[in-house]
Every structure is written in structure tokens, then in C-alpha cells.
Amino acid sequence: MLGLGNPLRGDDGIGPRAVEELARRGLPEDVTILNGGTGGLALLPVLEGWARVIVVDAADVGREPGRFVRFTPDQVHLARTPGNLSLHHAGLSEVLALANALDRSLPEMVIFGVQPADVGWGEGLSLPVETALPALIDAVIAEVNDPQYQF
């Protein structure tokens, strides 16, 4: 279970925040919880070698702030930072693009994209995202416990 984002950019911190909550709630022993922060392209080796990866990240999924959508990479088109890429700007979509270009086989991946209200400078989640957190955590735990994926 990988949480992504920058806790200094408001709702972009949803990934690391979900990591904290999930660590507090506890996940089965065979699940590793990782805070991927703003790892950028360095996330590529982090993603490799697992049976399955569940990602929580802020995403513009075209919904109301706080609403989240579960999807797999092949179900969506992830927008990439245009043009010259600076490493501080590389996110999950760039990592997946690089993996794809290199024909790296990544583990099966499920992404929970959470619609942010505000990703400006500042700590803490906005009210709608904070309010949605318990439902998000329940959804991630349900995903982890999905009997289809018991190994």
C-alpha cells in the first residue's frame, strides 16, 4: 500500500495521511505500507517486485472535492507534465510512462484517486477531503482484504 503526495501542499498530502491512518488501523502482516512522498522517478524501483500495489494519490478525477475513484492504470489516460520534465515534477503518471517505455512489467495496480479541493502551500487537508478520509480508509482496507487477492 503506497501513499503519494506532499503534505506541505494541502490535499496533495492525502497519500501520506492515508498511510498514517492505515498504519494506525493496522493491515495484515503480508501488506507493506509505504509513504512514497514525492519520490518522482525514484518510485519506479519502489513499485517493482510486489505481488500487488494499492496506491492512494490526489488526482483530478473530475468529481467534487473529497470524492475518490478506484481505477486501474489501463482504465484511464493519465495526463503527463508537458515537455521538459524536471524531477521535482515527476509523479505517478511519469513513473508509469517510464515503466511502459522501458517495457517493465509492474505489479497489478489499483489506484484510489482523491479529488483535492486545494493543493496550494499549507499543511492539513481541506474539510471535504478530511471528511472523506474514513470512507477512503475503509475502501482501501476492503481492497486489501478482497478474497480474490489472497495469496
Binding site: 525514484a42 524501483p45 520534465l85 517510464l98 517505455a101 522501458l102
Partner: protein, 429 residues
């Protein structure tokens, strides 16, 4: 007559935010500068009031790329203030950790950030389509160097095992042997990297300047030593202010520095120029293949000097592991120390150049004053003078070409702007 107007808002493929602004009217340069617009960081302010054992853990967060560099420099400053000297084993482990980070940072810069310019692609992702092997190799080297840092420091970035006087964790013999075998295997990747960079058409541009780095009698200096310059000056680390002479400029949140001339350069090229004789023989061979000879005044070749240093660091890591295996690595308690009031200056030559941390502690070991002088700052004035020297030579080229050349020059310095912008004083002139 030539009229050029370039405003590159946020140069890409550098760390942090900086702008290139060029204004040429009727052949006359009105403006040609690199502006650092990154927000200030305030690290020096927020370590005040913190205990001595926290400072390395806080200041390493200045940079996610040269975290080990800041950490090591910070520990040396604190150790000098407290009168502690690390053990021989600690010195070896710190060097090994440092080499891991230097390789990591240099491969990132040369292969991910610089190479795309020469292959005409905007970033590393499309580079896969044209030069897949370059990216695959860079990823392998990055993984190796990251694993090396994690083996010594406890994790890849922001090491948790580094502490005042030593390490709270030591690698096992088996880990060391496995790492050494991987480093030996990495020689092939190093050879390929040298071969690749030796074919690149480096821009033909020279401007004489002063090069500042550390120097040691016993080895190619990365940690401790004396400050030397290519103009023949030499200072103890404690006299760093005589070299850095920091000043504020109105268009940059990064301070400028100067010493014997209007500016100086730090980083791989400065180290190469000042300490060439102490490079590993394989690194000297690499330099010969790259056409790099001291003293080199072409700032674009800073990236080539980084490739040479990668070779050196791989070889020296293999040697250090040999030494560690011969003497055996034992868990050690940090040396006995008495917390006392004092001041210390630490200096390391981190991937982007010479770095200084200077702390003052009170009798309880609480920091009362801190000063950090970052390599990227020290390069800002020199970069601006290079831009101003380069522009008249390329002014008649198409605007896109001028912009690319200036961006390449900025990237050659491998600026880590996020690290350098740590002081907001706006001086209006």
C-alpha cells in the same frame, strides 16, 4: 542589428526554480541574467534552539539529493564544536556512504538531465525511445548507489543511522561482500557511460575563472581537508568566510559569492581541476577518453567531470570495502563526549561543490547560531558571468538555439536551487 528577447520562466531539468532573462536591443545587451526565484528555506533560523544531536537530522532535509552530504557536513561541524573525533571505522563508512550519494547524484544529472539536450529530446522518458540502453544503465547505476547508501546509512535518503561520533547501525560482512561484487560488475556500466559521454559534442566555450574545492594530502578530497583555489590560495576550513564573501543581489533569492576574482566555480570540475593527481587510475583513463585535462575552463564539461568522478567513486568504494573487510566491521558506541559550549565548522565537497555548515552551541549543546553556505549559491555569480560571456558569441543564432545554449549552460552547473535559496533579503539598488 540583433534583437533577442528570451524569458525562460522556470528552467526545466534543474532542481528548483530559476529564470533566464535576456534582453538584447540593436546588438546591445541590456540584460542577461539567471534569476533564482525559489522561496527561501530558513533552515539556519529553525535549527536555533535545537539540541546538537538533532542538527544533522534537520539539515540533511535541505536536500533529498545530497542529503548524505549535508548530514556528514553537519556532523563534522558539531563534532568539531564538541571536540569529538570519529573512529577510523566511522571515517571509512562515511566515505563509503558519501561515494554512494556522489554516484547517485552524478548519474541523475548526467543521464537524466543533461543527456536529453544532446539527443534532442525534452526529457528522460522520450529518451527511452531513442537511447533505451542509456536509461536502463542509468537506472541500474541509480539502484546500486541507492542501495549502497541504504546499506551504510540505514536508508537511501535522509540516513537514519548517522549520528554524532559514529553510526547506530553497521553493515554486515555479507552485505559488504555482496555490495562489492555489484560494484565490480558496475565497471561495465561505467565504461559504457564514459564511452557515451566521450562522443557528445560539448559546446566550445571557455572562460577563465577561479576554482574552489577541498584538498587533502592523502586522497581526492570529499570530506574534511583544506580549502584551496586554482589561483593558489589555501585556507583552513574555519576561514571559509574569507573565501565565500556572501552578498545579496536584487534579482535572486540565492546569495552570490566571490573570492580572488568577480566570481568562482565549485563542483566536479573544480575538484577535477584542483585534485586531478589524486584520482583513481581508472578515473584518469576515463578523463583521457573524455578529452578532459586539468585545468579545464569549459563549464559545460562539469558534466564530463561528474562522469570521471563516478568512475573514481566506484573504484574507491571497492577499495574501502576491501579495507573494511580486512579490518572487520564491529558495532561501535559513539565516543565519550562532554556536551559543552563551542563553535564548529564542517566542510565537505558534496556532488555540486564545496559545502560549509557552521554552528555555535551553548553550554547545554543547544544551537544558538547557524550558517550554511551551499554550493549552488557559490556558483550563481560565476554562472551569470559565463552567460554574459557566452551570449555575445551566440547572439546571431536563432532565438531557440540561444535559449537552448543558455539552458544547457545553467544545467551544466547542476544547480540545486531549492537548496540555495535560504535567505530572503531584497536589496533595492
Amino acid at each position: 542589428m540583433t534583437t533577442v528577447n528570451i524569458d525562460v520562466h522556470h528552467v526545466t531539468r534543474v532542481e528548483g526554480h530559476g529564470n533566464i532573462v535576456v534582453d538584447v536591443k540593436s546588438g546591445e545587451i541590456k540584460k542577461c541574467q539567471f534569476e533564482v526565484v525559489e522561496a527561501p528555506r530558513f533552515f539556519e533560523a529553525f535549527v536555533r534552539g535545537r539540541p546538537y544531536y538533532e542538527l544533522n537530522l534537520i539539515t540533511c532535509r535541505i536536500c533529498g539529493i545530497c542529503s548524505v552530504g549535508h548530514n556528514t557536513t553537519s556532523l563534522r561541524a558539531t563534532e568539531k564544536a564538541m571536540g569529538v573525533e570519529p573512529s577510523e571505522q566511522t571515517v571509512l563508512l562515511r566515505k563509503l556512504n558519501f561515494h554512494g550519494e556522489t554516484i547517485d547524484s552524478h548519474v541523475l544529472h548526467t543521464c537524466y538531465l543533461v543527456a536529453p539536450d544532446f539527443f534532442g529530446v525534452p526529457s528522460v522518458i522520450p529518451l527511452v525511445e531513442t537511447h533505451r540502453e542509456v536509461v536502463e544503465r542509468a537506472l541500474r547505476i541509480k539502484k546500486l548507489s541507492g542501495d549502497l547508501c541504504a546499506m551504510v546509512g540505514g536508508r537511501h535518503t535522509h540516513a537514519c543511522a548517522m549520528t554524532v561520533g559514529g553510526f547506530t547501525h553497521t553493515p554486515t560482512e555479507r552485505e559488504l561482500r555482496e555490495m562489492q561484487a555489484r560494484l565490480v560488475d558496475a565497471r561495465a556500466d561505467m565504461d559504457e557511460t564514459v564511452a557515451l559521454f566521450s562522443t557528445l559534442p560539448w559546446p566550445d566555450f571557455e572562460r577563465e575563472t577561479e576554482y574552489v574545492s577541498l584538498k587533502r594530502d592523502d586522497e581526492y578530497a570529499f570530506i574534511d581537508g583544506r580549502i584551496v583555489t586554482s589561483d593558489g590560495f589555501s585556507y583552513p576550513i574555519e576561514d571559509y568566510r574569507k573565501v565565500t564573501n556572501e552578498e545579496c543581489v536584487p534579482f535572486s533569492t540565492a546569495k552570490w559569492t566571490h573570492h580572488n576574482r568577480e566570481s568562482y566555480m565549485v563542483g566536479a570540475l573544480a575538484r577535477f581541476n584542483n585534485n586531478y593527481d589524486q584520482l583513481h587510475p581508472r578515473a584518469k583513463e576515463a578523463a583521457a577518453k573524455l578529452g578532459l585535462k586539468p585545468i579545464c575552463y569549459n563549464p559545460f564539461l562539469n558534466s564530463a567531470a561528474q562522469v570521471v568522478e563516478m568512475v573514481h567513486c566506484v573504484e574507491d568504494s571497492i577499495r574501502i570495502i576491501d579495507e573494511l573487510l580486512t579490518r572487520g566491521v564491529q558495532p561501535e558506541n559513539p565516543p565519550e563526549m562532554e556536551v559543552k559550549a563551542g563553535e564548529g565548522v564542517g566542510s565537505c565537497d558534496v556532488p555540486r561543490g564545496i559545502l560549509f555548515h557552521n554552528y555555535v552551541y551553548d553550554e547545554n549543546g543547544i544551537c544558538t547560531e547557524a550558517n550554511c553556505v551551499i554550493p549552488t549559491n557559490q556558483n550563481m555569480a560565476n554562472l551569470n558571468h559565463d552567460m554574459q560571456a557566452l551570449l555575445p558569441r551566440i547572439m546571431d543564432k536563432p532565438q531557440d538555439e540561444i535559449r537552448l545554449m543558455l539552458e544547457m549552460l545553467v544545467r551544466a552547473y547542476d544547480p540545486c536551487i531549492s537548496c540555495s535559496a535560504h535567505f530572503l533579503t531584497v536589496t533595492f539598488v
